[in-house]
Amino acid sequence: MTAYVIRRLLWMIPLLWAIITITFILMHNVEGGPFSRERPLPPATVENLNRRYGLDKPVISIDVWNSQYGNYLINLAQGDLGVSFETDQPVSDLLWKGFAVSSQLGLMAFIFAMVIGITLGTVSALNHNGPLDYVGVFFSTAGAAMPNFILGAFLIVIFAVELGWFDVLGWGGPPWKEFYNPSAWDFRKAVLPVVALGVLPAAYFARITRASMLEVLEQDYIRTARAKGLSEWVVVVRHAIKNAMVPILTVMGPYLAFLITGSFIVESIFSIPGVGRRFVDSVVVRDYGMIMGTVVFFSVAIAVVNLVVDVLYAVVDPRIRYS
């Protein structure tokens, strides 16, 4: 197991290198540079700006270590992600601040999706082909049929503007150390983004739960339990849900990684200072430092979360063996 984890971690290094190199080449081939302005800057200013941000060196050259690419790798190896050209601030600072917000929003949306999804899926399965089942199926398909920027826009118009129940700007979560203190939360700001982000995974989890439960309920051991005269409640909670959870667990890992690394759309429409907006924004303004920073950040984050999830599977399910 330890050997497996080490091997996976080591594999991340060439993986990251490949991703960095691809991004570097692509990025510098995008038309327009960071200093292309609506009002063109004088050539002398562009020269000075290039010097200021180290862009006067060749992107990649034979003399690798005297190129932007080589410099980036050296700095990265020392843990330095460089400076964002657009904001003139350290990339790592901006990413961490954004991640602190995005991870909270993502985690809450994940919890929301699990609770709603599993409940709906279970209720649907227990009422197979009954009216409640149709309601559940309808929700879980309809929830996935609308882009979430439209969903978010409607949530805002209905619940914030018309009904006045919620705010529309920013994220209401406290600093992480006060995460468990409900009074530190601003629920007027926290509810709508969580719903907007959580509906899609909730619908998806509901579909899987329903399918999984239906299958489990057909199994012999459930029939046996029922035959023994156990109450329906005990059968469902003790036996069915527990066994139906395995396929749900296998899909939730990647989804968790996806949610906590930030959503461009939800963060944009609620003006949330998260990390999800960073990448798109940085590409738009050709903020080379920030583009590389977000690529490295997302790649590492996704790889690490996937690794953690794989390890957890092995812990939860002893049948899984990694070699």
Partner: protein, 594 residues
């Protein structure tokens, strides 16, 4: 602690009295001059029945600033917040006339007009209590001219002796970067060039400027952000060298301020918070009454309108796609306000691309654009249709002045088009409109495409690119037709002509080349007779507008704001240097009423 609290209340009370007095005066002024030149645009939030109250928290929308360093940045949203935190020697009043701010009286000129001396008010202090002296201002000019700091608005200071030489020094004597004679920023040569910049502190309260040529607009320059002072008493600026000018940063607690407010907080992508500067030397007698200002960074204006509706914002910019419904919802003059901005947009034409070199062809295109309909269809009537390049308020012509020559006229357009066809002698090639990817921009291009098709039976293509690609193509002159324009840096007609329409102008990317324009610019450039100078620029405007020398103007832009009825003091002048935040001409006057 309680002592401090009481002290603050006392101070606020004094502020309030002073502010009220100042306000009564200002309000009166506006009624007088609002009519004759349209310079000042009051928001009508003055003189409402509600009385101005002490304190209060105001939340306004803006786009996030890129940098707080006034000697570096160039975006309107940067300048807006910088003007709340720092001020220069002069400041533009509501009519765009420079008035002393940190300076004591008018600048004094030498006989040849090339030496300008400015006296500083005595007893000025930074927000942290340190003295504000001449050396602080001198350091500001040096930072802007510093090649390592790479100030994006250095070109405005080009007339100061030695500023260009210092700024261009790193490329070495040959002026070419990446060659053997490039200079290192810490070399003695560069230090000598820094030393030679013509801005000197004669004593603690006197600054002397050496100019290459007499410059009538110099006092206006002295009000601009790139001339703001540097708190050199802070360690990182005190030890500044040409190679290490010191990092301005975004941490308010590590900076000092000489403007009406201090920066108390900043969260990237979210907001900045400001509080009154206790040491603000109110030049016009106006001091802040608010407890805090929160500037919320919101790009999506539809989102901002919703936040305004829910009460999370007190003032916001308006999305033109929603203009009609918002005006109906909030009432013109009640919560919705419109400010004319000193900006012009039009269809720019690269005159080096055939057949755009044929005057009749350009004229035909200009006459095929129904500017009224364009304005209604694309921005719901939000802008001011025009045929004049320089806005009337900055010494140009009336928007309708040239309508009969280049305005919408189908018959004339066809006539000119046919003339151009004869001159060209073969089928016109298909031109392409290069346009940015914002919805309003693409809609404009689609409108123009349809217009040329309907009026001239001439097909053009549209190429939509993102903003950076668009800018790069423009700079490299890789375009044919290009909806673009200009927003003025400072309120003088020269800012609309110099470098933009003279044959060798660095920003003349549409390749307008007209001997008459060149001759007039040559005469006007250092003409110390102000009215004659302005008249010469006005003549240039007429030539540009009537011959479509590079651009067919279609509208002057308005800024549109929603402002809560209990907000007072939000006003705009037409300087065009800020304007990213509602009514931020003098943010020190902002307040809340009952």
């Amino acid at each position: 602690m309680s002592f401090l609290k009481q002290w603050r209340y006392l101070l606020l009370a004094v502020f309030a009295i002073v502010a009220l007095a100042a306000f009564a005066a200002c309000g009166g002024d506006d009624d007088d001059d609002g009519g004759d030149d349209g310079g000042g645009t009051p928001t009508a939030t003055e003189g409402l029945s509600g009385k101005r109250i002490d304190g209060g928290d105001l939340t306004v929308q803006s786009v996030e600033f890129a940098s707080l360093d006034p000697h570096f940045s160039s975006f309107a949203q940067d300048i807006s917040i910088q003007r709340m935190l720092w001020r220069g020697l002069y400041t533009l009043d509501i009519d765009n006339v420079p008035q002393p701010s940190m300076a004591d009286g008018e600048p004094k000129l030498s006989a040849d007009g090339k030496t300008v001396t400015v006296a500083l008010k005595s007893g000025l202090t930074w927000s942290d209590g340190d003295d504000l002296l001449a050396e602080d201002f001198v350091a500001g000019f040096l930072r802007t001219c510093n090649p390592v700091n790479a100030g994006e608005y250095q070109y405005v200071l080009t007339n100061i002796v030695g500023c260009d030489d210092y700024y261009n020094s790193l490329a070495g004597p040959d002026g070419e970067p990446e060659t053997a004679d490039d200079l290192a920023a810490d070399s003695a040569e560069v230090a000598a060039l820094a030393e030679a910049v013509g801005v000197k502190a004669v004593d603690d309260l006197t600054i002397e400027f050496s100019l290459n040529e007499p410059q009538p607009t110099f006092p206006i320059i002295l009000s601009l952000w790139m001339t703001f002072p540097v708190p050199v008493h802070l360690d990182r600026f005190a030890n500044a060298t040409p190679a290490a000018p010191g990092d301005w940063g975004t941490d308010g607690s590590a900076l000092a301020f000489n403007g009406p407010y201090i920066l108390t907080g900043y969260t990237p992508q979210d907001s900045a918070t400001l509080a009154p500067n206790p040491n603000w030397a109110a030049p016009a007698g106006v001091s802040p009454t608010l407890d805090t200002i929160t500037i919320k960074f919101i790009d999506d204006l539809a989102q901002a309108a919703n936040a305004y509706r829910t009460g999370e914002l007190d003032a916001t910019d308006v999305d033109l796609t929603q203009l009609e419904s918002l005006v109906t919802e909030f009432g013109d003059g009640e919560e919705y306000f419109k400010f004319l901005t000193p900006s012009t947009r039009g269809l720019e034409m690269n005159m080096e691309k055939e057949p755009l070199n044929i005057p009749e062809f350009r004229l035909a295109l200009a006459q095929a654009i129904d500017r009224e309909k364009l304005n209604i269809a694309v921005v719901q009537g939000g802008n001011e249709p025009t045929t004049s390049w320089i806005p009337a308020v900055t010494g140009g012509h009336d928007p309708t002045e040239f309508d009969s020559v280049v305005g919408f006229d189908e018959a004339k357009a066809v006539e000119n088009f046919n003339k151009a066809k004869q001159i060209y002698g073969k089928e016109f090639p298909k031109l392409t409109i290069l346009v940015g990817d914002s919805p309003a921009a693409t809609a404009t291009a689609e409108f123009l495409q349809q217009s040329f098709k309907d009026v001239l039976a001439y097909d053009v293509d549209i190429e939509v690119v993102d903003s950076k690609t668009r800018s790069q193509r423009f700079t490299e002159e890789q375009f044919e037709l290009f909806p673009g324009g200009w927003i003025q840096d400072y309120p003088d007609p020269e800012n609309w002509i110099l470098g933009l329409f003279d044959t060798d102008g660095t920003l003349n990317h549409y390749n307008c080349s007209d001997p008459d324009i060149d001759a007039l610019v040559e005469k006007a450039r250092f003409n110390t007779n102000d009215s004659e100078r302005k008249d010469q620029y006005k003549q240039v405007n007429e030539i540009i507008s009537t011959t479509i020398c590079g651009i067919a103007p279609y509208w002057h832009e308005n800024n549109h704001w929603l402002i809560k009825p209990n907000v007072v003091g939000m006003r705009e002048n037409l300087a065009g240097q800020d304007g990213a935040i509602a009514g931020d001409w003098a943010a020190e006057a902002w307040g809340l009423s009952e």
